[in-house]
């Protein structure tokens, strides 16, 4: 089930993120993830940043720990083991979508928004990062989105502040049929509150510790769900019912800790 692939392209996106492109045949829908094995190092879950309709699939890796640091040092021609795709995907049917991307959350949202655009949806993007150089896929979004609004924590580009600060005015004038989000979970919680108060259906992509990724080990248990198979994309109606959302995560041991 694991395919060994050769990395064909390495694209430095921001100082802390890099995109690895590789040939991988299995059909993947936007929002799904793969398990990426860097032999001798680790195997980690990565949402596909190039998925639907692409022969050269891709993952965009942000340096977080040892595994992602080593993935950031991968060169063209290096070998990766890929299994998947796993999990569910974004429903592409809404006609007017507000995409709220925080930091590396843009990795999964960009291909989903592109796919929705191909189906004729109107796409607004609220893109946030800590600082201007860390804005992920800014140019990619600008190529297809109907509008792209930027925020940075330090004010080096766009509005100064968090990306969620942009939401009240966007939601007030937008008449959106969906809000899609991915990023730090505290940000996703704020976005859910904003979407709910404007009656906009919300879908967020979650991140949890993954081990088996095939519904057995329980490492990704999130309330009564397994993120690997019943996620990673959850509707706000579900997230608002799960106590863990924005509050608890499980460590590799399974111990529940405050997020």
């Amino acid at each position: 089930m694991r395919q060994i692939v050769e990395v064909e392209e390495v694209v430095r996106e921001t100082p802390s993120t890099v995109t690895l492109r590789f040939p991988y045949e299995p059909t993947a829908l936007p929002g799904q993830f793969v398990m990426v094995w860097l032999p001798g190092v680790d195997e980690v879950p990565m949402s596909l940043s190039y998925s639907d309709g692409e022969v050269l699939k891709g993952v965009t890796v942000k340096v977080m720990g040892e595994a992602s640091r080593r993935l950031n040092e991968v060169h063209r021609g290096d070998l990766l083991g890929i299994r998947g795709p796993y999990g569910n995907h974004f429903d592409l049917s809404p006609s007017k979508i507000l995409v709220v991307a925080g930091g590396s959350g843009a990795a999964v949202l960009a291909p989903a928004a592109e796919a929705a655009k191909r189906r004729g949806a109107h796409i607004s993007v609220a893109l946030g990062a800590t600082t201007a150089t860390e804005l992920l896929f800014k140019e990619r979004f600008r190529r297809f989105a109907d509008e792209v609004i930027i925020s940075t924590d330090d004010g080096t580009e766009g509005e100064k502040g968090y990306v969620t600060d942009l939401l009240p005015s966007l939601l007030a004038r937008g008449h959106y049929s969906a809000l899609w989000t991915c990023g730090p979970e505290v940000m996703m919680v704020k976005a859910l509150r904003a979407a709910t108060s404007h009656g906009v259906p919300y879908f967020g992509s979650l991140e949890r510790v993954m081990k088996c990724a095939v519904n057995l080990c329980d490492a990704c248990a999130f309330g009564p769900y397994h993120v690997c198979t019943e996620g990673p994309v959850f509707p706000g109606t579900v997230l608002s019912q799960v106590e863990d959302f924005g509050t608890f995560k499980r460590e590799a041991s399974g111990r529940k800790v405050r997020a």
Binding site: M1, R2, I4, M35, W37, P39, G40, D42, E43, V44, L79, G81, R83, M210, K211, C212, V214, N215, L216, C217, D218, A219, A221, G223, P224, H226, R250, E251, A252, S253, G254, R255, K256
Partner: protein
């Protein structure tokens, strides 16, 4: 489904099909989902004294031809943190069996006492994990070491004690007899078989731990033969485990001598509802054979 109700080691189960240890066992909600899906009971993940992260990934290798290999490395939050998960499941009426692993007989005994205090119905001793240094089958493949653990736990708790045996042995009967003589109330068998996978392109082992445990349909014949042999060697009940995914598999284990079964790998595809499907299927099979209870079928294939 009264036909399926059964009592084993003094514990009542609404049906003989339990969730196996290590599957869905990190969270109390997941245990509850398996029970609500129709399981007769659930066995917790194997719990130790301290939080343990387990091995780095890759921890599994799945293969359409032979099944699933895993070397999770006994990840668990430690008995103290795990209490809330057990209490959650118990508060929802779930029949919970607590699985524990230790490096010494005393550690097994302490953990079993802690499980007993949480209110579980029985203790299952993990004497058989094939991929954790100093634990599991490293203790459980030596009849004397296994007996020492069972004796220590039996003198520490009042609950029924199930000894989960390793198939990585040349002599299942003597392991079974050692457990029985030491006072075990039941034998669970089998755990996974040691195996490994090598990637031919990168020319290295796939699992970070190199070797792991094989599970899934490939090991059913091995589990059946193990249960068969142990059934002829001991008088205590047996919990049959290994490669069960269909009602017929459950029935075959009962015929070989199992009083209960546990299901693990098949949950990957079937989820919680698998348990209800298996229970209904087994009920139908019993009716077809004119059997009035699960216990009438236990060991029936030995009456040749």
């Amino acid at each position: 489904m009264d036909l399926l109700q059964t009592r084993v080691t003094g514990v009542d189960f609404r049906n003989p099909i339990l969730l196996a240890s290590g599957i869905w066992g990190e969270s109390g909600i997941s245990l509850t989902r398996a029970y609500e899906g129709g399981a007769g009971g659930v066995v917790t993940k194997s719990i130790g004294s301290e939080p343990r992260s387990g091995y780095p990934n890759p921890t599994i290798e799945k293969n359409g031809t032979w099944g699933l290999l895993n070397a999770m490395g006994l990840p668990n939050p430690g008995i103290e943190s795990y209490g809330e998960e057990v209490r959650y499941a118990l508060s929802r009426g779930v029949r919970v069996v607590g699985s524990v692993f230790g490096g010494t007989a005393e550690e097994f005994a302490r953990l079993s006492q802690a499980m007993e205090a949480l209110g579980v119905a029985a203790i299952e001793l993990n004497l058989s994990c094939p991929h954790a240094k100093g634990y599991g089958s490293e203790i459980g493949s030596d009849p004397e070491a296994l007996a020492e653990v069972v004796r220590a736990v039996k003198s520490a708790v009042r609950l029924p004690v199930w000894a989960k045996l390793t198939p990585n042995t040349a002599d299942p009967a003597s392991l079974g007899r050692a457990a029985e003589r030491a006072g075990a109330d039941a034998i669970s068998a089998i755990n996974t078989l040691r195996g490994m996978a090598i990637d031919p392109v990168t020319m290295r082992p796939i699992l970070s731990h190199v070797s792991g445990g094989l599970s899934g349909p490939a090991i059913k014949p091995i589990g059946l033969a193990f249960v068969w042999q142990v059934f002829e060697a001991v008088h205590i009940p047996i919990i049959g485990i290994g490669g069960i995914s269909r009602p017929e598999d459950v029935f075959e284990y009962l015929l070989a001598g199992a009083s209960l079964v546990e299901v693990g790998t098949a949950v990957m595809e079937g989820g919680g509802p698998l348990f209800g499907q298996l229970a209904r299927g087994v009920s139908d099979i019993l009716v077809t054979h004119g059997l009035k209870s699960v216990s009438e079928s236990v060991g029936a294939a030995h009456r040749r």
